[in-house]
Symmetry: C4
Subunit: 217 residues, 4 copies
């Protein structure tokens, strides 16, 4: 190992080692993505509504219903993944360059949610739009699992709980992704069934109702 390589090793040890800043940029990206979702709710323009005609406005707001459903669905999705990532970051004892980059990959998929949400809101009848949305969830789940797998292998988790954590994460991510897969496949019949099931899954994760069957996943 020559000197230049030694220096690089030193640099790589320092690079991306701040768990605090990884959490900070994650919170920032989640916050902006969650708030940008609202841009998908296009406020009716003044030219579409005759002044004083409440009926015009009521009708236009009713047209926003699909966009509102996907809005709530995506906010829940981002909330679920934010809680998931927060839990993971609170468990690792330190970060490193590779771990940071896995999370940046995860965050890349997070920033895509406003796009795939607006696509699905606009084309809620489209299987392609639904599959794009499902792929986005799949990539987020995969990246989060990858983070845990790497943390486990690189011994970033505390020694005692490491094994238990990784088994738990695998079970939860695979269980959730299985449910999303089923929801996606429902689009063979109708994309609206898929959307309804995804909303139900997200509500289940958010509300954590005391139904043993669902909790076990």
């Amino acid at each position: 190992m020559d000197r230049s390589e030694q220096r690089n090793r030193y640099y790589n040890e320092l690079a991306g080692s701040s768990l605090h800043r990884l959490a900070a940029i994650s919170d920032g990206i989640f916050a902006v993505s969650m708030t940008l979702l609202v841009l998908g709710l296009a406020v009716p323009t003044a030219s579409e509504v005759r002044t004083g005609m409440e009926g015009d406005l009521a009708r236009l707001l009713r047209d926003l219903l699909p966009a509102t459903v996907t809005y709530v669905m995506s906010f829940l999705t981002l909330g679920i993944f934010w809680v998931g990532q927060q839990t993971q970051l609170s468990q690792v004892e330190r970060a490193n360059r590779n771990y940071t980059w896995i999370h940046l990959g995860f965050l890349l998929s997070v920033t895509l949610v406003p796009f795939s949400t607006q696509l699905l809101a606009r084309f809620h009848w489209s299987r392609i739009a639904l599959i794009v949305y499902w792929l986005n969830i799949l990539v987020m789940g995969t990246a989060l699992l990858l983070g845990s797998e790497y943390a486990s292998r690189a011994r970033l988790f505390p020694k005692e709980q490491g094994r238990m954590i990784i088994q738990l994460v695998r079970r939860r991510v695979l269980g959730a992704q299985l449910l999303y897969l089923v929801a996606m496949l429902l689009c063979i019949f109708d994309t609206h069934w898929s959307i309804a099931l995804i909303v139900a899954i997200q509500l289940n994760f958010a509300l954590a109702p005391p139904i043993p069957l669902l909790r076990r996943l």
Copy 2:
């Protein structure tokens, strides 16, 4: 209780337990929502103003007056709820999964403020737009109260002050929501009276003037 359930219990204890990150994503979402309000102030386009004609620009800026009023009103609204949430988070001793999700619900309603603000700015004559705006404030208040009620029941507040805090929060939220309700009902006569009263209420909360009657609420 089988092993998988034990693991889940362990996971749920860790999940959403970071008060620091809950505060961080809240600050992020409030910051973005407050700044996105400015997009409601549409800058006049170059084609609307003849070069050198200050009169054209002056007239267009005057047209922005309703949007400016709702802008300031919504900034104050978000400021009031940010201070309220900050106060609550500074009082709880720890967070948990359920508490985190109540706050995510609260933050969902926060991200809707730029939408309901722009709706009201554009259709300030409309009772529907006003009721949408009022519902937004109602949901924010309800979610914040729910957070305190849950924190009280789940013993997240310090033991000694817990009872006093929850009584105080109930009084303040109910008092404020009563005022907002009155303001909303004024739209039976004219929506502009409602807007004027909401602005007055928000200024009262922001400036906290030394008028005993108002402070008592």
Copy 3:
């Protein structure tokens, strides 16, 4: 003083008392405002440029020059006020409800900068646009000074340095605002002279060149 008033006093002491969160929402609002400035640099649309014609694109980018100048000017402006607020917050020992609301007023004027910047970029020949921009800077400076004055009166500064700090802040804010006033008045002749002087002032604050005359302000 009856019991309800006692409770309110207790609440007001807790409300807005977190310096850490005040700093966090400030950083968030500054970060979003600074980044939203880029939306003022409208990327030429595909329909304006014939494929393969570099000349078309070059001409359109040249048209973005005024927007680029106001962009850099406003980024510097926000940077100067961010450093100013950071300095103030690093000096106070604690916050309270009133102090927090003065800063929220300050942040309201910060979120207006993307608006007034885009207005000036589009109508750089207009005295009205220039005065709106100047008013924005005036309000930011006034709010920042007000924060220091209040902190001084409410004894939020450390006892020993309190007097020195407030004298220093007054001098700096008044000195800077005097320069901005001169720049604004130059619009009697030509708004472009005003813009040039504001840019020069901001560069002076940012670069802090070793010219005694300027440093003394």
Copy 4:
């Protein structure tokens, strides 16, 4: 040195001295810039797609391919510079006014990335657009190097590692910028080759593959 100068010296020592807040605003600006990139992926509008015609949507999504490539490229670029800045900030022991302003200059170039990315996405055949993008990377790299050089000269690094750090940073920044320069020059033949090489360079930095030749840079 008269009294007013003494006061200024005191003020300048306090101004911009908070490393924590410099990190916070940096995380905020990176988070917003990374998320704003998604606005470059324009969701097809409802009028472009006949209801039920998946083919229409598929074709429009295929048209988004260049925008998707530049999106991923720019996310990686921002990730690389975020890791670079984080590493630098974790090494300095304190900040000061000048150091803060060098970083604000760096952040100015960061906020320009969504602009130069959208420009390149729209005009991927254009050498001008490519050179604008390359200049953006060049300015970011230069500002980051400048920060390290200043930190080294102003003794902000810890005494023992200071020399080693600055040599390492110089090598890395110059090596990377050399690669970007080569990529830019490829536009003499075809801008798409330039884009391909930049993507390859960013992937190399992100994935840090175990190829000695590349790691040595």
